[in-house]
Symmetry: C2
Subunit: 136 residues, 2 copies
DNA sequence: CTTGCTGCAAAGCTTTTGCATTCCT
DNA sequence: AGGAATGCAAAAGCTTTGCAGCAAG
């Protein structure tokens, strides 16, 4: 089976702390993508003394490691997507900002070389938008 | 020819002020997409007494009118895209956050009904990412 | 032991808001 | 004249940072 996020943390020489264990657990237990504040809230339910700064820095660390994807889809908060692989697109509710995964298999169209402005393209994500049932 | 943004403002009953004229001018004069702060800076060069609050509320107004598109592509600032029509995608530099338009003609793949979670899809934008020359 | 991690609180940045004043129409 | 738009300054989110103490390896 796959090695867990925690195993990979350790393999890279990062320390394994109760806080990181809890944050990893919170992320993996969710099928929607949480904001940092929501991660804090759920983590505090499991480990009351965890701090906001730790949640933010840990999410940043996980993101730099490529273990979590940071999404900026509305002007409010970033959201954290624990499903880095396989690559997939997102469906966003313009009302509440909720983000849903779109099953993989859909491929974004390639960007013609003439349009690349000399950049090497590292990702191509499609963002679908609409309004969810709860937001009428 | 097309009616200008200012004509459309007036047609909808909005007042035509020096501030709005300057903001429209700043937006239309750019081929990259500016943040609110950059709009303020350029607007102040033309009309020194314009305030930050006015820039923000005007951009919000233009966006509600559908005259400008609000983009949230990184966790920093929103950017404002004056080219609402034709629809087009964007190329983002992960280093500096700069946003370039991708020529229209590229179509995002449709989202299968099974994946829509009951939502009516109102838009599908592709975001290409890479690192621009200046960000090495 | 050593160095990295945590918690706290303060600061930073972007954006919004309340209210008196100004000025389009 | 009348109501909308502006400017100012304060406040409100979200996120980052500095630093002393704690703990994983």
């Amino acid at each position: 089976m796959h090695s867990s996020l925690l195993d990979r943390l350790q393999a890279r020489g990062y320390r394994l702390t109760a806080q990181r264990r809890v944050i990893a657990q919170v992320l993996e237990g969710e099928n929607v993508h949480l904001t940092a504040d929501e991660v804090l809230e759920k983590a505090q339910a499991l480990l009351p003394e965890i701090s906001r700064a730790t949640v933010y820095s840990t999410l940043q660390r996980f993101s730099e490691m490529g273990e979590v994807r940071e999404l900026s889809l509305d002007g409010r908060s970033k959201r954290y997507d624990p499903n880095v692989v396989p690559a997939h697109h997102h469906l966003v509710c313009d009302g509440c900002g909720a983000v849903f995964d779109v099953a993989h298999g859909i491929e974004a169209p390639a960007l013609p070389t003439a349009e690349r402005r000399g950049m090497m393209i590292t990702s191509a994500e499609v963002v679908y938008r609409g309004t969810c049932a709860g937001c009428t």
